[in-house]
């Protein structure tokens, strides 16, 4: 077996690894890079537990070959918090008890972040459809949707504050 050398970026860090042609990005993250936040719930793209961002696009890392990561940018749940400060979604998931067993949580956080990054005022229905690729078997989704709605409010406030700062800087 001859390995494939790959250079990529994970959560802003340059990373190199050698993988087998069949290995998925999920296998690589977990088994080569020690990033266990993305989970394998199905291996077939049906549960979303392995969700990561690939060049700014939400994907299931179980449906990406490790070799495809060459030259790409990958973001995982491990890169979501800003130092000690949790992302609003992480904070709201805790406050709203939006997790029970927590195995699906990293995938939900990534998918919800992908939603809020381009739509910070989603309706309940938009939240539900944006998260339809992430299965949760514990919560009935109720508290997850509420947490995402609350985090959307936080993101809007952050955006407004940023706009105000920008305007003040220009004046």
């Amino acid at each position: 077996m001859k390995g494939i050398p790959v250079s990529t970026t994970v959560n802003g860090d340059d990373v190199e690894f050698v993988c087998d042609g069949r290995e998925t990005l999920l296998d690589v993250l977990r088994n080569h890079l020690g990033l266990i936040g993305a989970k394998e719930g199905c291996g077939t793209g049906d549960c979303g537990a392995c969700s990561v961002m690939l060049d700014g696009q939400l994907v299931c890392s179980c449906l990406v070959l490790g070799a495809e990561a060459e030259g790409r940018e990958i973001e995982t749940v491990e890169g979501m918090a800003d130092g000690e400060k949790l992302h609003p979604l992480q904070q709201r998931f805790l406050e709203h008890a939006a997790l029970q067993c927590g195995i699906c949580t990293p995938g939900f956080l990534i998918a919800a972040k992908a939603l809020l990054d381009h739509n910070s005022s989603p309706s309940e229905s938009e939240i539900r459809y944006a998260l339809a690729g992430n299965l949760c078997r514990c919560t009935g989704y109720d508290k997850i949707v509420r947490a995402v709605r609350a985090a959307a409010g936080d993101v809007r406030r952050q955006q407004k504050a940023r706009a105000r700062r920008k305007a003040a800087a220009q004046n």
């Binding site: 719930g41 291996g43 709203h96 195995i103 992430n134 949760c136 078997r137 514990c138």
Partner: protein
């Protein structure tokens, strides 16, 4: 030290508040470690070869080519798991289920396993193992399996169903009281109806996973996703011939179990591989393996006969409940028979449960196991009866509901219980007055679960800084560490944040039963209270020693020892700091058989919309009302209510095992085994009632399971209201509903 478990109606400072869970940050940052999230130096990858046949004699297994493949370190078959069960029939069933012994009993039954240096080598090795099968006739349907001419799944099964003969009915049990025939003779109205429910899976998102390590010295370690590390230790040690204390089992974070992680499947195989290879072996099931070869719930076939007077009183009830338990005998029909009529006060009542063996995977518990199917049949019939009598279904249930002092259909006499309060709450709930749109309908149903207590122990160690490490032995499946920390802090009178709750491994604490039967918070809560009281006793002794007064003159209040009649006090922190001079470390311990788990009742209301042209059903509104005894952490109690309801909705509408003519499972994946997605569900409204359990100091009842019992019937009743068709086959998938709508239309046209 003797502790009193009677309910005391104390006022709480912390219990009942919505604090943040202690394991939360790890779980939102990706740090929490589940079954597949740990690694050992030199670990191998384990993989299991499974039978593609529903029923086949294994004439031989040739592993030679696999063994020769570079990187393969061990290949095992049932020969490597010798029978050490010593006449223990249930243990033998577990052994045979872990690895087929001469016969494959279902599609997915393990027949061999390998351990190799990497996943790709393990995959190739499995392909090199040649199994010589002689395919046998199979049976997967519960009714078919009961017929005299059905293929026999387990030749060793005997029961009174066909005395002295081979049969697939492994047991028949009867519950009830009164004279049912006399009761029906007094009835003005009798309804008889038959129901069928398909097999479902718990659908936890985390597949079974473990890391096993056994050395030639007979010592072993197992890191595993489980609902019970002690039970897994006992089972694995017995199957492998190890001494219990030599096998240390650590429960990982668990990514959902719902009963499905109460049994061992691949773990003994991983241990056997590790022992043979003398290397750690990580074994993770694929999702396909989980569906084909873990422990789904039973499929059922149920007949119900119900008799009532015109005035609305049930006078007789009878149910025949046939549960398909998979390829091994179970107790699922018996539990169904016990649960069937538990909501009602009925003078003449009987239920008969049948344990049916079929060529499907060995059934495991699934959240209130067996009760949802029985509930579907009973609660559908109860609503039918109310309709026939022209009585509101809630009023009809209130007229017949069990109360304190009612003799339950399964034997005991109830103490204070919550079914009437949940029904009263439903009556008053705004949901009952919400407007229904076109093609929409409303249904409601009740549900019951026994709850369980069991063997439990807890350790509570006070650090020298006055903070507390609490060790419990029940796996935390959904927030229990927060609840147990609240309880410890409440007892000791210290802030919640000063307690850290840890789930102990099997080497660090005495035996605990599994987290099942909704027992985690009930029983570990009880042990925690008593362990804290044990610690407080020591704290009082230390204070008494410090002050030179009698212990009886020291009280404990708000986290402080207080000398009676004097203005002297010592905080927990002060006592802890001084502990090295007053007698050494301070800790509390308790072990208890937590008896008296209070039974639990719920009533659900559901609105659905049915598309009459496609049979598609959408749940538009859903409300859960349930008795929690005492909600220690209301967020996680609501979460249990919502999660159970969502699982019940999936079961009612779309989830089912589909077997082909060949006896193979057609849909072993989340694509075609359709659990509800986020956009399928509305917000699930909850109302927590608190009718204290008299047998728990805080009044706690288990809350985890009951919420999955009512949804099947609640939705069936709502579909009937919306579309005018009575669905008797679950899941009520669009093809089944559309077919029912069409045939009812044809019937109407014929009678016109």
């Amino acid at each position: 030290m003797q502790h009193d478990s009677k309910f005391t109606n104390q006022k709480f400072k912390l219990v009942g508040t919505r604090v943040m869970r202690p394991d939360g940050v790890d779980k939102v940052t990706g740090r929490a470690r589940y079954g597949a999230d740990t690694f050992a130096p030199g670990q191998l990858v384990g993989a299991i070869l499974r039978s593609p046949h529903a029923h086949a004699k294994i004439r031989g297994i040739d592993t030679r080519r696999a063994e020769k493949l570079a990187g393969v370190k061990a290949v095992i078959t049932s020969a490597d798991l010798p029978d050490l069960t010593d006449g223990d029939a249930e243990l033998y069933n577990v052994l045979e289920n872990c690895m087929a012994r001469g016969k494959a009993l279902y599609d997915g039954h393990a027949v061999a396993a390998v351990a190799a240096s990497d996943a790709e080598t393990a995959r190739k090795a499995l392909k090199l193992i040649k199994v010589d099968y002689k395919v046998l006739p199979h049976v997967t349907d519960v009714d078919e399996a009961m017929k005299p001419a059905a293929p026999i799944v387990q030749p060793r099964v005997r029961s009174k169903y066909r005395p002295g003969k081979r049969t697939n009915v492994a047991g028949v049990t009867t519950y009830g009281h009164g004279d049912v025939d006399a009761g029906f003779a007094k009835a003005d109205v009798i309804i008889e109806k038959s129901y069928k429910t398909e097999q479902v899976h718990q659908g936890y998102i985390e597949p079974h996973a473990c890391l096993a390590s056994v050395g030639p010295d007979g010592q072993g370690e197992l890191w595993v996703t489980t609902q019970g590390q002690f039970a897994f230790r006992n089972r694995c040690a017995a199957l492998l011939g190890m001494e219990m204390s030599q096998l240390k089992v650590t429960s990982s974070e668990i990514g959902g179990g719902f009963g499905g992680k109460t049994h061992v499947w691949a773990e003994p195989v991983a241990l056997a591989l590790s022992r043979k290879a003398n290397r750690p072996v990580k074994l993770v099931m694929s999702r396909e393996d989980v569906f084909r070869a873990s422990g789904p719930a039973s499929s059922t076939s149920i007949d119900v006969k119900l008799g009532a007077t015109r005035g609305g009183r049930i006078v007789a009830a009878h149910a025949e409940l046939r549960y398909g338990g998979g390829a091994f005998p179970g107790i699922w029909g018996e539990i169904g028979a016990m649960a069937a009529w538990a909501c009602y006060d009925i003078e003449n009542v009987r239920s008969v449960g049948y344990e049916v063996v079929v060529n499907r995977p060995k059934v495991a518990a699934y959240r209130a196991p067996s009760a949802p199917m029985a509930g579907f049949a009973v609660e559908s019939t109860v609503t039918l009866m109310a309709e026939k009598l022209g009585i509101d279904p809630v009023e009809f249930r209130l007229k017949n509901a069990a109360r304190e002092g009612t003799r339950a259909s399964y034997g005991p006499t109830y103490g204070p219980i919550g079914i009437v309060p949940t029904l009263e709450a439903v009556k008053k709930h705004p949901h009952m007055r919400a407007r229904l749109g076109k093609n929409q309908g409303r249904g409601m149903a009740c549900g019951f679960w026994f709850n369980f207590g069991g063997q439990t122990c807890a350790d509570l160690a006070i650090g020298e800084d006055g903070t507390v490490a609490l060790s419990v032995g029940t796996v935390d499946v959904g927030g229990a560490r927060a609840s147990l920390s609240l309880i410890a802090a409440e007892e000791l009178g210290i802030p919640y944040e000063q307690v850290r709750c840890n789930i102990a491994d099997t080497a660090s604490l005495g035996y605990n039963d599994m987290t099942d039967g909704s027992r985690g918070t009930f029983s570990s809560g009880m042990a925690t209270i008593f362990a804290a009281r044990d610690a407080i006793e020591q704290l009082r002794q230390r204070a008494a020693k410090t002050w030179g007064i009698a212990v009886k003159n020291v009280a404990w209040k708000d986290g402080k020892a207080i000398a009676k009649g004097k203005r002297k006090s010592l905080t927990l922190k002060e006592l802890a700091e001084a502990s090295s001079n007053t007698g050494g470390p301070i800790s509390g311990h308790n072990q208890v058989v937590a008896d008296g788990a209070g039974v639990s009742f719920a009533s659900h209301i559901c609105d659905v919309e049915v598309d009459p042209e496609t049979g598609a059903t959408k749940v538009v509104r859903y409300t859960v009302v349930q008795d929690a005894g005492k909600a220690v952490h209301p967020d996680y109690v609501e979460g249990q209510f919502q999660g159970g309801a969502a699982q019940g909705i999936g079961w009612a509408l779309n989830e089912e095992y589909v077997y082909g003519e060949d006896g193979r499972l057609q849909n072993p994946g989340f694509l075609d085994y359709r659990i509800p997605v986020c956009s399928d569900l509305p917000f699930i409204d909850t109302q927590i009632l608190e009718i204290p359990n008299p047998n728990h100091p805080y009044g706690i009842r288990g809350v985890g399971e009951t919420s999955i019992v009512p949804p099947l019937a609640a939705i069936a009743n709502a579909v009937s209201d919306a579309a005018g068709v009575r669905m008797t086959h679950v899941p009520m998938s669009p093809p089944r509903i559309l077919a029912a709508i069409k045939s009812s239309r044809e019937e109407q046209e014929l009678t016109r």
